[in-house]
Symmetry: C2
Subunit: 316 residues, 2 copies
């Protein structure tokens, strides 16, 4: 039996219908995936914090009694926070500095977190802890950092592999920044090692970034990448186009700000946190330390925003 | 001029003299190096602790309120320590479990350390912290762990390379165990990566062991290697013939004890710490938990000592 023009027309219509439904389904699936990857509770909050302050600045709160112009860690942090709260998207206390002061140091950290919540409730607080351990210990660290300290995000160390990272990822409202490529010279020792795998040779930091991209099923992962290594930053951003990157090393460590911003942000000029610690909090060792910190934080914010503007990615 | 028999004899004697002095010098140099590598204040104390208890057992103090038969972490630890003090060379509190309980948990850790010092002053206390960070932060962690907490040794994470490890090594009376090859499945993800370097391909854990061997100028470094991976343990012991190895994974994690002992000890049957945490401290969940812990610790000690005896490396 030969097919007449009516049959052909019906076939054509069926094809169009199939094509239409295929497109629609693909859109839905893609949207779902995109949403999952970029709009976790954490990345949403981070984006809001950045947009509110029109800022990608993260201030590292690393109190060092030898450099602080006041004796109380909490008073020091409070003054810095009060002076800079409108200029930043995040604060990042590094736990090492508080632990070095014993239990009183940790009490000061507790009070600092509570103070940030009071004066800047929308700002993200990142616990720079670089914790990493196997199963039950990693679970305990996740509990300590998210439930006890109440951090919005943490930095972790992925040396122990997938099952050492997993306990930190469970709550999609909490961010998890894996220390991928450091800003210090020693980071080259292991992180830059050339490894052999199915896809050919590549540096280990790249392989770690690829693993994190795969493990990030809830969209709440990020990576720590130093501003001092622009080539590595470019490469890691290409592997993880949407992940928030926490970028230390522009202040005291001398990383180039312009390239850090340009290579660190995502396609929309967002999803990067440019961190400065010593460059901001020790801008002055006089009684004007808080105002000096605010001036430095504002300068950093402006310099970043100029790069974003120049690339047509400024704030609305 | 032809050399007569007298000249030949004199040459022979000169050769013998040169050979003798060369041998003597070599002995002196080797002895010096050996001394430097093996007899730091820390390794000396570790060896004394092992010899006193005739034990390579390290008990992990990882309190988990969900599994403890008493409510106070300190009371739990105190009972375990009192029952096992004569059977072990070291205790290893993992900081994660104390941090998960907030500041009260850390106060219990403080009291636990003080209690161990009172009842077992010769026993080594290892702070299982797996800390690692760059320069000033690593310095702060070293200060926290050694000066504030007063640990005799710590576990650290060397992901940040040489300058992230250096601050921990300064005091040769303190031990520093680098997390080299974990006992968990995820440790294969990065630690087993095949890397390319001047000496050909090798797994990353081996390259890390080689780096530590080079960095260990004060003889106070050790490595953490899981009992669950005997082949890696053998390889790492060959790279670092004298370093103390801290070996977790024989209890709840199912690593084979006999191979862990045989492959983990140095040539004299020493310089290894066989760790069990859950297998000892949760041996019973009744009121007899401390006696049960002592029984398990004693069993572990005896089983280890049988392997040492069989290899002619028992205690004097």
């Amino acid at each position: 039996m030969e097919a007449g023009p009516g049959v052909e027309r019906r076939l054509d219509r069926a094809c169009v219908r199939v094509y239409f439904w295929r497109l629609l389904l693909r859109q839905i699936l893609l949207k779902g995936r995109k949403k999952k990857r970029r709009m976790s509770g954490f990345t949403k909050r981070l984006e809001q914090a950045s947009e509110t302050a029109k800022s990608l600045v993260c201030v590292g709160l690393d109190p060092d009694p030898a450099r602080m112009p006041v004796s109380s860690v909490f008073e020091f942090n409070r003054a810095i926070v009060d002076a800079t709260a409108g200029l930043v998207c995040a604060y990042k206390p590094n736990l090492a500095f508080y632990e070095a002061l014993g239990l009183p140091g940790l009490q000061d950290l507790e009070k600092t977190i509570a103070h940030i919540r009071r004066v800047a409730p929308g700002v993200i607080i990142i616990g720079d802890a670089k914790r990493g351990d196997i199963g039950p210990s990693a679970q305990a660290y996740a509990k300590a950092l998210f439930d006890v300290w109440g951090f919005d995000a943490v930095t972790i160390n992925a040396w122990g592999g997938r099952d050492s990272v997993a306990p930190f990822l469970e709550d999609e409202s909490k961010g998890v920044f894996v220390w991928c490529r450091g800003s210090n010279p020693g980071s080259a020792d292991f992180q830059d090692a050339q490894i052999v795998n199915e896809e050919g040779n590549m540096p280990l930091y790249r392989s770690m970034a690829m693993a994190c991209q795969e493990w990030d099923t809830k969209g709440n992962m990020g990576l720590v990448v130093g501003a001092t290594v622009p080539e590595q930053l470019r490469e890691i951003r290409a592997v993880c186009p949407h992940m928030p990157l926490l970028i230390p090393g522009v202040g005291a460590q001398g990383g180039d700000l312009e390239s850090a911003v340009r290579l660190g942000v995502d396609g929309r000029g967002r999803a990067a946190l440019i961190n400065s610690s010593r460059g901001i909090i020790y801008a002055s060792n006089g009684t004007d330390f808080a105002q000096a910190a605010a001036r430095e934080a504002d300068n950093l914010r402006e310099s970043i925003n100029q790069v974003l503007e120049a690339d047509g990615k400024g704030w609305p």
